[in-house]
Amino acid sequence: MSADHAHSFAAADALEETAAPAGGGAPAARARSDEVLLSVENVSLGFGGVKALTDVSFDIRKGEIRAIIGPNGAGKTSMLNCINGFYHPTEGRITFKGQTRPKMRPHEAAAGGIARTFQNVALFKGMSTLDNIMTGRSLKMRTNVFWQLVRFGPATREEVEHRRKVEDIIDFLQIQHIRKTPVGKLPYGLQKRVELGRALAMEPELLLLDEPMAGMNLEEKEDMSRFILDVNQEFGTTIALIEHDMGVVMDLSDRVVVLEYGRKIADGTPDEVKANQAVIDAYLGVPH
C-alpha cells in the first residue's frame, strides 16, 4: 500500500485490499446471519442524578461488525461497560445468547464469551507481552491449585497447550519481536495490539473494542483495521466497536448505532446513518 494516503479514508482503502482475497471485499459480502447474538432493550443507566444512558435499544447480530458512534460523552463506553458487566443497567435488559442476566458480573461475562479492550489501554504493565496474552487464557485453564503448586503433570501439559495458542495469536498480530518485553515499555500502538491479543486469547464470541485506533498514526490504524477485519472473517468473531474515525467506521462496520447524550438517535447501515439528519446535526451542530 502506498505511503501517500493522507486522509482518514486511507485505512479503509487498505482494508479493501486485504479483504479482497477473502472473497468480495465489500462488507456486505461478509459471512453473517440474521441471528441476534446480543440485544439491548430499553437500557437506562444513571449515576445518582446523572443519566448516562436513556432508553437505548439495539441488537448485535452474529458475525457482524457493529459500530457505536457518537460525540464525546454520548454514553458509548457506558454502553460497553453495561454489556460486559462493569455497570448494571438501572432499567432495561441485555440478552446475550438468549440469556438475560440482570446483574452479570464481569468475570461471568468473560466466561460467557465476551472479551473487550479499553479506551485507555488497560494492560498488566509489569508483565511481558506473552504473559499479558496468557492471562486471556485464564478461564480456559482448569488444573487445580494442587497441581499448580507441584508444577507437575496436568499443570505443565496445560501450560504448554495454552502457550501454543498464545503463540499463534502473537504470530497473527505480528508481535513476535516483543514477546518478552514488559508491555509498559512498548509504544502506544503496540500496546493496543497486545491488548487486542489478550482479548483474542479468550476466543470470544463477542469482542468489544473501545476506540481501538485512538491515538494511532495512519500506518498503525491501517494495521489495526486489517486485524479487526481478519478477526471477523477468519474466526467469525462478532465485533462491537466504538470509534471516532468516521472513515474507519463507515468502511469496517456492517451496521452503525449512533448515540447522543445517552439516547439513540440513529441505527442502520453506514450509508443510512451518514444521510440521517439527526446524526449530521449531532456532529455538526444545529443553528439555534
Binding site: 504493565k125 485453564m141 499448580q148
Partner: protein
C-alpha cells in the same frame, strides 16, 4: 583516634581473634533474617495482588498464633488445633474479602490502607475478647518442634545452635520456596500479578478479583501463622509481638514491595546487619543499634534505589 580505632580496627580484630563469636553472631543474624523475610513475605503477597500495604499483617501473626494456642487450651489436640487455626485464617481471608475489600473495589489505595488499620484494631479487640490479653506459651513440644541446643567447639570457644532455630530456618525456607514458585510460574500467580496491575483489565479477561483476594489473604494468613509459631516459640505469644511487623517495613523497602526474592534477601541483610552491628559496633555508641539499624538502611535505599533491590522497575511513560 581512639574512636576511629573503635570503629575501623577493633571490631575486625575481634572477628579474627574469636571466630566462635563471629559464627554465633552470623547464625543468630541469619535466623532472625529468615524470620523477617517470612513476615515480609506476608506483606509482599497482599501487596502484589491488591497494591495494598496490609497494616494488619502484624496482628494477623499474633491472632493466628493465639488461635492455635487457644484451641489447644480448649483441649483440642495440637495437630488438630493447627488445622483449625489454618481454617480460621481461611475464614478471616474470606471475611476480609467480603466485608472490607469488596465494597472498596476501585477506591484509591490509601482508602484500602486505612481499611487495614481498621482491621488491625478490630483483630486486637476481638483477639483480647476471645483469648484474653495475657501472654501465652507457644505449644512447641506438642507441635513436634525440636527444643534443646547443639554446641560445638570452634577456634577456642564454642558455638551454640538452638534446634528450634534450625527448624525455623528450614520451615521458613521451604515455605518461601513453595510460595515463590507458585506465585511466579502458575496461572494463579499470573492472575495475581494481573490483578495487581489493573483491576478492570483483570476482570475483563475473566479473573475473579474476589477469588484471587481470598487466595492471597489466606496465603498471607498461613504465612502469619507460621511466623507466629516461630516467633512465639522464641518468646511468648502476646500482642506485643505485632510490632515485629514494623521490622518488615525496612525489609520491604530494601527488597522491593513486589518481590519474593527481595523479601528473602532484604530479610537476611537486615537480620545479619543488625546482629553484627549490635555486637561489634554497638559498644561504640553505647548499644541499641538493633532498634534503628534497619530503618537507617531503609532510608538510604529510599534515597538511592526506591524500587528496592528486586522491585519491579518503576516504568513511567510520559
Amino acid at each position: 583516634m581512639d574512636l576511629l580505632s573503635q570503629i575501623f580496627v577493633e571490631p575486625f580484630a575481634l572477628m579474627v581473634e574469636m571466630p566462635d563469636l563471629l559464627v554465633q553472631t552470623l547464625w543468630e543474624g541469619f535466623v532472625s533474617g529468615v524470620l523477617y523475610a517470612l513476615i515480609a513475605l506476608g506483606f509482599v503477597l497482599i501487596f502484589k495482588a491488591s497494591g495494598v500495604f496490609n497494616f494488619a499483617q502484624g496482628i494477623m501473626v499474633v491472632f493466628s498464633a493465639l488461635t492455635l494456642v487457644g484451641f489447644y487450651a480448649m483441649g483440642v489436640p495440637a495437630i488438630l488445633a493447627l488445622v483449625l487455626a489454618i481454617g480460621v485464617m481461611f475464614v478471616l481471608a474470606w471475611t476480609v474479602e467480603r466485608v472490607v475489600l469488596r465494597p472498596l473495589v476501585n477506591q484509591p489505595d490509601i482508602i484500602l490502607f486505612m481499611a487495614t488499620f481498621g482491621l488491625t484494631y478490630f483483630l486486637i479487640g476481638f483477639g483480647e475478647l476471645v483469648f484474653g490479653g495475657e501472654p501465652k506459651q507457644m505449644i512447641t513440644d506438642e507441635l513436634f518442634l525440636p527444643t534443646g541446643a547443639t554446641e560445638f567447639d570452634l577456634g577456642g570457644g564454642y558455638v551454640r545452635i538452638q534446634h528450634l532455630d534450625v527448624a525455623a530456618a528450614v520451615i521458613a525456607s521451604i515455605m518461601i520456596a513453595v510460595l515463590g514458585v507458585f506465585f511466579s510460574k502458575t496461572r494463579i500467580g499470573r492472575a495475581l500479578r494481573a490483578v495487581a496491575d489493573s483491576h478492570k483489565a483483570a476482570l475483563s479477561v475473566g479473573i475473579s478479583l474476589n477469588q484471587i483476594w481470598v487466595i492471597v489473604w489466606f496465603a498471607a494468613g498461613v504465612v502469619a501463622l507460621v511466623t507466629g509459631i516461630m516467633w512465639g516459640a522464641r518468646s511468648d505469644v502476646s500482642f506485643a509481638l505485632q510490632i515485629i511487623a514494623l521490622k518488615a517495613l525496612p525489609v520491604l523497602i530494601l527488597g522491593g514491595f513486589t518481590s519474593i526474592p527481595g523479601a528473602i534477601v532484604g530479610g537476611l541483610i537486615i537480620g545479619l546487619g543488625e546482629k553484627i552491628g549490635e555486637f561489634y559496633w554497638g559498644p561504640v555508641v553505647g548499644g541499641g543499634i538493633e532498634t534503628w539499624f534497619a530503618y537507617v538502611i531503609a532510608l538510604i535505599f529510599l534515597l538511592f534505589r526506591p524500587q528496592g533491590l528486586f522491585g519491579e522497575k518503576i516504568i513511567e511513560r510520559v
